[in-house]
């Protein structure tokens, strides 16, 4: 037993409890100490993660939890993204009755996502799934308005349904293998009956695809992106993906692909995800809904790396892609959070003249999401595409390149008005939102920096995992 092995996770939990308590005792107009505690907990968790990453990789708690490269990456990425969400949420949540609860939910959601990434046992995976999901339902409905209720309900219904299929998959795999830890699964599943194993893998996949916001578990994403408050939407579309996709790679690597060709299955899901997400984003007039569908498409690109998981550079590419995506996506949502009254694409017209910095951040983030060098997503796409081509799925790379072309059109539908001089479609009523706009500029700068400094970062990222 090594209680310190989970220090980063425990700090998140402790932070959540302290934030909740502090928030309950503070007057409504002075809740900032609660937010500060939450931020400190995230920073502490980040620091603990960095310290642990320097140590040896190992399995803890009877081989149920992996403290290895992918977990370290999630432990760094998730708090970073959560910190950015806290920063961009300041103006929206300040003075709200449930201000502290927002921070608590962010901390709990982050905890769930990190646990998902580290789980190396089916039962831990199931628990992490639940822990990662419940805060999200609450977060989606945090504003307690009609749209928020719809977002929460959709997320909840889909999450509950696919959670059940995940449990079904866990049961089936346990029944087939007689073990729940991934090392045991790997050893025992070699001779498992193909049909039963396939059903189990598909059921398991469904739950994790819900977390990743990927097709076919994506129906909640656009509604959550528009219905939830913008900061909550930023969190919902970023943080769960990190945990969900790493968990997916981990669990699939425990299933021998000689028995069930899960690679083809994931490749098909990736194709469907990017195509559907991109096509659906075309017609959107609401920038948030457009971003929602864009995240579905982005999950499709990340899934390409999962499809070739275990082969050279695939895991490294996935982790880098997640980092790049998280930064860029949070940046794009931060722009939307800074301009809350511009709810249509046409309302962004003429933004460049009045808000040059915010516009520059928007341009960097949207072009980044397309995959323009030298932003981080470009390097992410490059490594993922190369690994996929190398892994024998060249056709998937062609599909992804075509989808990138398609995605260009809708990102530009948002960016072009912002860069065009002229009056906006509807006159925005704007107050300065320095926290949100600073977050946007910071995230945009970070995505360029990560892209330029991709060499050392890629060198640090692991290409294998423990079992």
């Amino acid at each position: 037993m090594d209680p310190l092995a989970l220090a980063p996770e425990l700090l998140l939990l402790l932070g959540a409890v302290l934030t909740l308590l502090t928030g309950s005792y503070l007057p409504r107009q002075r809740q900032w100490p609660a937010r500060l505690i939450a931020a400190l907990a995230l920073v502490g968790s980040l620091a603990a993660a960095v310290v642990q990453a320097a140590g040896d990789d190992r399995m803890v708690y009877a081989h149920t939890y992996a403290v290895d490269g992918p977990t370290h990456t999630a432990r760094v990425l998730v708090p970073l993204a959560a910190l950015a969400v806290l920063a961009l949420s300041v103006e929206r949540t300040r003075g709200d009755r449930r201000e502290a609860e927002f921070s608590v939910l962010v901390l709990l959601g982050s905890l769930g996502s990190v646990l998902l990434a580290g789980a190396s046992d089916l039962l831990v995976l199931a628990v992490a799934y639940l822990l990662a999901s419940f805060p999200l339902y609450a977060l989606a409905g945090w504003a307690r308005d009609a749209r928020g209720a719809e977002a929460a309900l959709k997320t909840y219904l889909l999450g509950a349904l696919l959670g059940i299929t995940l449990l079904l998959g866990v049961t089936l795999l346990y029944g087939l293998a007689g073990a729940t830890d991934y090392a045991g699964l790997r050893d025992a599943l070699g001779g498992a009956p193909r049909a039963a194993l396939a059903v189990g893998v598909v059921a398991l996949l469904a739950g994790l695809l819900f977390k990743a916001g990927a097709v076919p578990g994506h129906f909640w994403v656009p509604d959550a992106a528009t219905g939830a408050t913008v900061p909550a939407a930023a969190f919902l579309t970023t943080v769960p993906k990190i945990g969900g996709l790493i968990a997916l790679a981990r669990v699939l690597l425990a299933v021998p692909d000689s028995v069930v060709d899960w690679r083809l299955l994931v490749a098909a899901v990736a194709t469907a995800g990017m195509t559907l997400g991109n096509l659906a984003a075309f017609g959107q007039r609401d920038p948030l809904r457009l971003l929602g569908y864009s995240t579905v498409g982005q999950a499709g690109y990340a899934l390409m790396a999962v499809a070739v998981a275990g082969r050279e550079d695939a895991l490294r590419g996935l982790l880098f892609y997640l980092a790049a995506y998280a930064l860029t996506n949070v940046g794009a949502f931060a722009v939307a959070a800074a301009l809350p009254t511009r709810t249509t694409l046409g309302a962004y017209r003429g933004l460049g003249r009045h808000r040059p910095w915010t516009t520059a951040a928007l341009a960097v983030c949207l072009l980044g999401l397309v995959g323009t060098p030298p932003t981080a997503v470009f390097v992410g796409k490059l490594t993922v595409f190369s690994a996929t081509w190398d892994g024998g799925l060249a056709w998937l790379v062609v599909v992804a390149a075509l989808n990138t072309v398609a995605s260009l059109f809708y990102y530009l539908r948002w960016l072009a008005p912002a860069l065009t001089p002229g009056p906006p479609e509807t006159a925005p009523v704007e107050d300065a939102r320095p926290w949100a706009s600073t977050t946007a500029v910071g995230a945009a700068a970070a995505t360029v920096a990560l892209g330029v400094a991709a060499g050392p970062v890629l060198a640090v990222l692991p290409d294998g995992l423990l079992r």
Binding site: D313, R316, G352, L367, V370, T372, P373, P374, V379, L382, T383, F385, S386, W389, D390, A394, V397, V398, A401, T404, V405, L408, F409, L412, A416, L419, T420, P421, A454, G455, L458, A459, L461
Partner: protein, 497 residues
Amino acid sequence: MLSLTVFAPLVAAALLLAARRLPDRVVVWAWVVVAAGEFALTVALWVTYDGEGIGHETDRPWIPGAGAAYHVGVDGLSLPLLALTAVVFLMCAVHTLRREGERDVRRFAALFLALETTCLGLFAALDLILFFLFFDLSIVGMYLVIAGWGHGARAARSALRFFLYTFVGSLALLLGFIGLYAASSPHTFDLVELTADPPLRGEGAGGALVLLAVCVGLAVKTPTFPFHTWLPPAHTDAPAAGSAVLAAVLLKMGTYGFVRIAMPVLPDAWRTYALVVVVVGVVSVLYGALVALAQTGFKRMVAYTSVNHMGYILLALGAAGMLGGGDTGTRTVAVSGAVAQMVSHGLITGALFLLSGVLWDRAGTYAMDAFGGLAGPAPRFAALTALAAFASLGLPGFSGFVAEFQIFAGSLGPAPVPTALALLGILVTAGLFLRALHRVFLGPPGSATAPVHDLRPAETWSVVPLLALSVAVGLAPRWLLDTVEPAARRVVELVSR
């Protein structure tokens, strides 16, 4: 020194953006000084290049995990284009000194300086990812130039069309690059290594598909028929300096990519499909010339002649890949003619676009029918435009003649029929330029003639050096060809192995 040359304009751009209180005149003069310094640096690079292989090389790991490096260097193919880039950007800076300079000059200058970095970087890049980086950023920069400073009601639309077309093309290019990376062993994006040991040799389908992806990406940028439709609106609505850079430098990125990447790295596929390249080139030549003939707007007409001129380059490069007929010497002539044509077209068309800006500045239109008799009130304008037009149609004594003569001489052996067809393009171009000169400068005054006064000094001095260089190449081509020819021979050797 090469890295300094590439990134100095970017630093200057950042400084200009940071200096909010500078008066506009100071900004433009600062821009002129930086651009002149850049020109001096490229000349120094050229003079100190020893004529063998790759000079001024820097090779540092950048993203080793992804096989990408910061690898830059120059040789006989890139030096003329680097110098051309520096000259054209300097002339754009001088052009902006005129009294009707662009609005928001500080950002305009910063944008052009940043654009200069992307252009120089592209011609110096010896790594596919670095090449792609500059390729994409040049698109973003040019988009901002057209969308932000374009004139005409449709500028934003034209800018968007330009962006979509060329960006989509760049993604095809990236796909091809990834294909090359995946096929090479050990995996690398390094151009020198890929050239030394080309992947995908002899595998029919793989090499062809990768070549297709690379060529589509480059052809959109060049542009050749049928990917040229973004070009006329982009040129028509861009500011004069933007058009000049777009035509003189950005289009060369496509043709340079053929010589630098497609031919040496995919020699087998290039030889197999050389005839396709030749046909696309000839169609571009004829189609560009005929459509230009039908234009009523002066700037749009010049834009279409770019399609025509780029077609000659493709014809020469395709012919250089056709085995049988013509020895290494002939094919070298074709390739060095193609490179000379890139330089020549950059000088001449840059001048033509800067001159056409005069029409818009004074009269707010490009319609040739609205003018007439301009030679009287604006003799210098008329003389320089006539010179540029004659240079563009390939009159001996100008660079265009040297380039096109080499192209035809080199291509005739390997591809006689296409070359003969392409010769017709020269006839049409000659006709259309004479007709345009006639309509704009001679005859009775038109409705828009009245406001046109003669060139200001800044306008004159932005055009004269370009034409002077064109004459210099035309009369004494050796200083250019001595640098180009060894590199061209090397390309021919690489493509015929």
